[in-house]
Amino acid sequence: MARIVGGVATSHVPAIGAAIDRGRMTDPYWQPLFKGYERSKEWMAATKPDVVLLVYNDHASAFSLEIIPTFALGCAEDFAIADEGWGPRPVPAVKGHPDLAWHIAQSVILDEFDITIVNKMEVDHGLTVPLSLLCGQPKEWPCPVIPLCVNVIQYPPPTGHRCFMFGKAIRKAIESFDADLRVVVFGTGGMSHQLQGPRAGLINKEFDARFLDKFATDPEALTRIEHVEYVREAGSEGIELVMWLIMRGALEADAKEIYRFYHVPASNTAVGHMILENKRAA
């Protein structure tokens, strides 16, 4: 049977992608951030997942206001890289895993999570920046990736509690897939940041530190954070943190924190990162 071996939480700031693509990783501004991911790249290379399921949000790239799915699961063979206004990032196209993706779709829908099935979707920095941070700049991504796209732009996004429960349904789906696959789940976005309006630039280190602490040991507590608290305390885009809770729900309750990194700033954003491993499935 397939099993989840670990989880990666990380911010997905577009400027990080630009810094990688333009070779600015050793600039004094960026060097501390990329240093913080060196160990993560080693972990990823050593863990060698067969599949990554990556939870992220689309930033008006694949979806516009025409269609706004709350949860959209990429079931395609491959996913092209979106042009976000600057030309597509020079990274490999993403290969999917339709067998597992379709199995997850069927399993979670019968489990009463009425997701959207997507057979054609471009993926933007929300998905490619986390891959770049964990995998570097390979010619091909090291394994197939199943994109799980969450609406966090149009209010209201799903609640943290719903995301956490969805993560549990995803775990059940993966564990009932009849193939010996080792899966790593990514939860991306956050941490505190606000991109818009006169309050742009908000960073709340205390909120982020508490979130990271609870994320490892008491994620249920985080599922009670209401949307208004995210926006007030962590900024209008800090609400992306609900996506981390899908990953956390997919991991076991007593998953072990392997690594943590926090850095301010990357452009407008507080970068948070954590790696968890399931104790029983490693």
């Binding site: 577009p14 400027a15 630009a18 501004y29 930033h59 008006a60 790239s61 516009s64 206001l65 025409e66 979106a82 042009d83 976000e84 206004g85 600057w86 030309g87 732009i153 149009q154 209010y155 209201p156 505190s192 606000q194 991109l195 818009q196 309006g197 006169p198 309050r199 742009a200 630039g201 908000l202 960073i203 709340n204 280190k205 205390e206 909120f207 208004v228 926006v231 007030r232 305390e233 209008s236 301010v264 700033p265 452009s267 407008n268 507080a270």
Partner: protein, 134 residues
Amino acid sequence: MDDAETAAQFDDIPGTTLFDARRSRMGYHLNMFCMSLMKAENREAFKRDEDAYLAQFPMTAEQKKAVRTRDWNGMLRLGGNIYYTSKLGATDGLTFQNLAALMTGSTQEEYLQMMIGGGRPPKGNRSKKEWARG
């Protein structure tokens, strides 16, 4: 908690525009104009003649003016969403950070230094009452 109570709580957060149903409906065509700038040929057409390009979209005169004058906060008030207006920014060669500096009324250098210094703290920035006191 009912809708009005929730809305009042969000409304009390200063300098922040919640992209809710009301704004999404108001800003639909403005945002879809921005979305069209995802295509390189549309960016070129827009740059060649902004008014002619905007004429294709049933936006209000106020929304078109906000676009023409690059009134970034005005666009948000009129239903724009930052992930859409940032595509207009990209067309102008502006990053999210450049736009943030403009929306906060800072110079690019001041904004960069504020972020390097740890960003805008939550203290004093949680409620409109705190901003009113200056």
